[in-house]
């Protein structure tokens, strides 16, 4: 009950934040030089056509009227038409966003699976060989630029060994599964199409690992320092004084306490992966939101830029909310109020 009330409260609190973000993006995109009407009309349009177009697109209205109109449409699910792809932005997003989301989920999955255990081992075997190894791995991961690592992977696994595909989301010749979530792996499971599923997973591996390389490094280090901090605390000593074995103390007492800062970092990384996957998407020709956003910016496609910005903001806030709620679940001291 308390948890529910808290969540509802938090969701209501999102509204002013989102309005703030939309205003900010809207006005910033409006002050950027460049005329969307001219771009939409094409290079050979004459002044008259452009003027008409400006009128039609509402570009001559005062900015706040334009904003009000935009928000009105937004609430009806209408994000406007892309000036570049000439179809509703909503359609574009439906097409590109699931690809990015899928890639992000996959890379987060790898991050958690590898990063946290590596960090725990690092902390419990502090300064021993395992720790040194994890330290070097983490450093390499963090220090290596993602696109560069991606290219190396491509060269090695795709061009040289040919064991993994280097671009796209599916093998050529396969038709994507029926769109339910838009994420191929999940849709394939839902429709029971195992050939597609296998192909989708194989295609995720290289971009997923590339994207995860940085975050694994960060999570490993964070887990290590957080665990070391916890291992120094008095209640760990108490746990040992009760006769608990190292393993029991580590996993029964320390890990859950050490998870707090890790959860925050995970949330942040998730947001970053969503918004910042453009390089990885380019290297692996992944048809995701990152690439779409770059195009939108290049062609001053305001409706698209606005939509992407607001979408990412909403996701960021949502992820934060989920993390906060998880905090409350894990830590009884934060009693919703």
């Amino acid at each position: 009950m308390d948890a529910l009330r808290y969540t509802v409260k938090r969701i209501f609190l999102m509204i002013p934040i989102l309005i703030g973000i939309s205003i900010l993006t809207f006005f910033i995109s409006n002050t950027i030089p460049g005329d969307p009407a001219r771009l939409a009309a094409g290079p050979y349009a004459d002044a008259k056509v452009i003027e008409e177009l400006q009128e039609k697109m509402g570009l001559n209205d005062p900015v706040y009227v334009q904003y009000a109109n935009y928000m009105k449409n937004l609430l009806q699910g209408d994000l406007g038409n892309s000036n570049y792809s000439h179809q509703p932005v909503m359609e574009d997003i439906k097409q590109y966003f699931p690809a990015t989301l899928e890639l992000t989920f996959f890379s987060m999955f790898i991050t958690i699976l590898i990063g946290i255990p590596l960090g725990v081992i690092s902390a419990s075997k502090k300064d021993k060989a395992a720790d040194q190894f994890a330290r070097v791995m983490a450093l390499v991961g963090v220090a290596m630029p993602a696109f560069w690592l991606g290219i190396i992977f491509l060269l090695f696994f795709y061009l040289k060994l040919g064991v993994l595909p280097g671009s796209g989301r599916l093998d050529t010749g396969l038709t994507p599964p029926e769109t339910i979530t838009g994420m191929y792996t999940i849709d394939a499971i839902l429709t029971g199409n195992w050939t597609v599923f296998k192909s989708a997973v194989i295609h995720l591996i290289l971009p997923g690992i590339t994207q995860a390389a940085v975050t694994i490094g960060m999570i490993t280090r964070m887990t290590r320092s957080s665990m070391l901090e916890v291992l120094r605390s008095d209640y760990i000593r108490t746990a040992f004084a009760k006769g608990g074995s190292e393993k029991r103390v580590l996993y029964g007492h320390a890990l859950r306490n050490g998870m707090m800062p890790i959860m925050t970092l995970l949330g942040m990384t998730f947001g970053h992966s969503l918004g910042g996957s453009v390089l990885v998407e380019s290297v692996f020709s992944w048809p995701g939101l990152g690439k779409y956003a770059v195009n939108a910016i290049t062609y001053l496609d305001f409706p698209a830029v606005m939509a992407v910005t607001i979408l990412i903001a909403v996701l960021f806030i949502l992820v934060n909310l989920i993390i906060d709620i998880l905090y409350q679940v894990v830590d009884p001291r934060l009693n919703y109020d």
Partner: protein, 331 residues
């Protein structure tokens, strides 16, 4: 005329519980009145969270009082403008509990002691150095140690430096908030002795805050006992320790373990812990733990009344004529 006089002083903190949460009030200091004479030491004792530190900080106006009046040297300073208050701070200084945290680790002792003089524009460098050197001589630190940093000193030495810093501007009143609580006994006694000596030399007044009843007895002329933001008893030190009137004071005194294995006392063991100052009990705030409580205590809020000459207590069941019969012996 008393040097410091406090009348019905209140310090209510508003705390927000959770975000968007409703506001609650912590009545840290709730209607406290007392005075301190020139050259006198008033001890303030009470358990953790009863409002001792808040009282000290409110008197120094480090936090704004919620209501009530503070008189210093006969002048009402409750609403003094900032500039005049700064001038007045020369006369009222504070010494904190933690000798580690209260000295800037990146300043030498010389700088630490000189800074208050500079802030108040006292003398030229040479004159300031004379003051500083005179002070450290009194606190038993050598001249050649002046350019060292706080971490190069022991806890006791650091606390003595803290005291010296409070003394640089020749104050009349020092509010010492648990000045010896973080120190070992052998070092604690050094600091206490120093404080007594300095008091004699400069005719200082102390408001000495501590939870340690033995220490307070040692240094105080008069003692006030606080419980949940209120003074429940105040009297001359000998009178208070020999003839405590309030049930809480009695319990406190018998609870202190005596460093003498040949003395066994009947102890009054209180049930439970200090209630939260957010929702203090009705009536007499002590009634939830008081061994002498009666149903009336829940309804009636006792006031601090003079029960014997200079001996004030706030308990509806202590009557002036009865006061001599309730003696308890602690030694």
């Amino acid at each position: 005329m008393a040097l410091l006089e406090v009348k019905d002083l209140k310090q209510h903190f508003t705390i927000k519980k959770g975000f968007l949460g409703e506001k609650k009030k912590v009545k840290a200091v709730d209607g406290v009145s007392f005075h301190i004479e020139q050259g006198e030491t008033l001890g303030i004792v009470g358990e953790s969270g009863c409002g001792k530190s808040s009282l000290g900080r409110t008197i120094l106006k480090l936090i704004k009082p919620t209501s009530g009046d503070i008189f210093f040297g006969g002048k009402n300073i409750t609403h003094l403008p900032r500039k005049e208050m700064k001038e007045l701070r020369k006369d009222m200084q504070i010494v904190f509990q933690d000798p580690y945290a209260s000295l800037n680790p990146r300043s030498t002792v010389r700088t630490i002691l000189e800074t208050p003089l500079i802030v108040h524009g006292a003398g030229n460098r040479q004159e300031r150095m004379k003051v500083v050197e005179g002070l450290i001589d009194k606190i038993g630190i050598r001249k050649d140690q002046l350019d060292r940093y706080p971490h190069e000193f022991s806890g006791g030495q650091r606390q003595r430096i803290g005291i010296a810093r409070a003394l640089t501007l020749n104050p009349k009143l020092i509010i010492a908030d648990e000045p010896v609580s973080a120190l070992d006994v052998s070092v604690q006694s050094q600091v206490l002795n120093l404080m007594v000596d300095l008091q004699k030399e400069f005719n200082l007044s102390y408001m000495f805050i501590s939870h340690d009843l033995s220490v307070v007895q040692h240094i105080s002329d008069r003692v006030a006992v606080m419980y949940l933001g209120k003074i429940v008893e105040i009297a001359d030190v000998d009178e208070l320790y020999r003839n405590p009137l309030h049930p809480y004071t009695k319990a406190l005194l018998t609870a202190v373990p005596l460093p003498d294995p040949t003395k066994k006392r009947d102890r009054i063991i209180l049930q439970g812990d200090l209630p939260s100052p957010i929702n203090p009990p009705t009536g007499c705030a002590f009634h939830t733990r008081c061994p002498a409580a009666t149903p009336e205590c829940k309804m009636e809020t006792p006031e601090l009344r003079e029960k014997a000459m200079g001996h004030w207590a706030s308990c509806i069941h202590v009557h002036p004529e009865q006061s001599t019969k309730t003696k308890i012996h602690i030694s």
